[in-house]
């Protein structure tokens, strides 16, 4: 039972972060300026700095992107 719960939890975690990485790549090249217009005038290295945060919180950014 414990093993099943752990396996499920880790799979969910892996899927979440995996999708986060995909969303992060989209964010780097296209999504950043769509989500926040201030990113247009920001240096590209800022996007790289934000990448881990996108991987962690992509699910919160998705509705914002959808609305735009």
């Amino acid at each position: 039972m414990v093993i099943t719960i752990i396996s499920f939890f880790l799979k969910v975690l892996a899927v979440y972060f995996g999708m986060g990485v995909l969303f992060g790549i989209y964010f780097l090249f296209i999504g950043a300026t769509k989500i926040d217009p201030l990113m247009k005038n920001s240096k590209w290295i800022v996007r790289l700095l934000l990448f881990p945060g996108v991987v962690a919180t992509w699910i919160c950014l998705l509705p914002k992107l959808y609305k735009k």
């Binding site: 414990v2 093993i3 752990i6 396996s7 939890f9 880790l10 989500i35 926040d36 201030l38 990113m39 247009k40 005038n41 920001s42 240096k43 290295i45 800022v46 700095l49 934000l50 881990p52 945060g53 991987v55 962690a56 919180t57 919160c60 950014l61 914002k64």
Partner: protein, 345 residues
């Protein structure tokens, strides 16, 4: 402020604080390694790294959690708030070294996925004595990662202040996990009582600081000011406000900061548009009210950030009669120009 995002918001003071952090970290590691090698020369490099980074991360977390209440209790601690963000990210990186080396040393050598191994190498979850405490540390590290990764102005603007604040309040969940990680780990591995005892002292100090700061805030919130004619509220005598500083008043449930500068008084809403910092705890620098948290600036007479920046806060009417200061607690539209009250000598 305003037009684009910077990689890091550095200024002269922040660079000084960052140098202090670096110096402190290096000094701590040097002392820890030196003392450990003198007392036990057989300690391996991995063990030294795991222990020194773990204890340092815990120490920094205690400092970080103390800064908020200390700044509320005594204004002298306010400058420490300036650099809490950098301290938090530094603490995460050090905790990551601790977690990374621990996983490398204890979970990488088998044929099982190391993260899976963290959760399953010990399945005694029902035992207090043998609880797999590494799992708690791993979960705390996940929270600290999410916090460190979102420690940039972009996140405050795009996650919304409420979501961002909620995410960062998880530091207390991370702290609870870390306390459990240390105490349950100590039951199994620690032969010396020093670490659990120091952790216990740290916990008690944090609880006392938070309760003291909370009591002070409640007292401030309950303070009422007598009503005057036309809904003007008397708040204080002129001399009670320091030059280029403010006093904060809660009038009709609104936090209002009244600033004194160049023989004038101006009143604005106390909450900074950037991260909700307490503007009234800042001071006037170069003619602008400067937020103590991240240096966002507003002109005292209209609550607007100086051009080309666009942030605005609400302003209030303020007047002086017989050296007594009165404020009209109805907020004007954000950025509304209000003539300052003139202090006649």
């Amino acid at each position: 402020m305003g037009l684009n995002y910077q990689l890091v918001l550095w200024n002269k003071n922040k660079k000084v604080y960052d140098r202090f952090i670096l110096l402190f970290v290096l000094l701590y590691l040097l002392l820890f390694w030196g003392i450990t090698l003198i007392t036990n020369s057989n300690t391996s490099l991995e063990t030294l790294t795991i222990r020194s980074s773990g204890t340092l991360a815990i120490l920094l977390l205690h400092i970080i959690l103390s800064i908020g209440p200390l700044a509320r209790i005594n204004k002298k601690f306010l400058p420490l708030l300036y650099n809490r963000r950098h301290l938090g990210v530094s603490m995460f990186l050090i905790a990551l070294i601790h977690g990374g080396f621990s996983i490398f040393q204890f979970h990488m050598l088998g044929d099982v996925n190391p993260i899976y191994s963290v959760f399953t190498s010990n399945l005694d979850y029902s035992s207090l004595h043998d609880f797999p405490f590494q799992v708690l540390g791993f979960l705390a590290l996940l929270i600290l990662f999410a916090m460190a990764a979102t420690s940039h102005d972009f996140w405050l603007a795009n996650l919304s202040a409420k979501t961002w604040k909620t995410l960062h309040m998880l530091v207390y969940v991370a702290y609870a996990l870390i306390v459990s990680h240390v105490f349950l780990g100590a039951f199994q591995q620690e032969t010396s009582p020093y670490m659990p005892v120091l952790m216990g002292i740290g916990f008690v100090v944090l609880v006392i600081l938070h309760i003291s700061a909370g009591i002070k805030e409640v007292k401030k919130d309950k303070q009422t000011y007598e009503a005057s004619d036309e809904d003007w509220k008397y708040v204080c005598e002129i001399d009670e406000i320091e030059e280029d500083r403010a006093k904060i008043f809660i009038v009709d449930h609104e936090r209002i900061a009244i600033f004194k500068y160049e023989n004038k008084l101006s009143a604005i809403h106390n909450v900074c548009k950037h991260q909700g910092g307490p503007l009234g705890e800042g001071k006037i620098i170069d003619g602008c009210i400067t937020c103590p948290w991240h240096g966002y600036q507003y002109l005292p007479q209209n609550g607007q950030s100086p051009p080309p920046f666009t942030e605005k806060v609400a302003t209030y009417y303020v007047k002086i009669e017989d050296k007594k200061v009165y404020v009209l607690p109805k907020p004007l539209d954000e950025g509304t120009e209000v003539s300052p009250a003139i202090i006649e000598s």
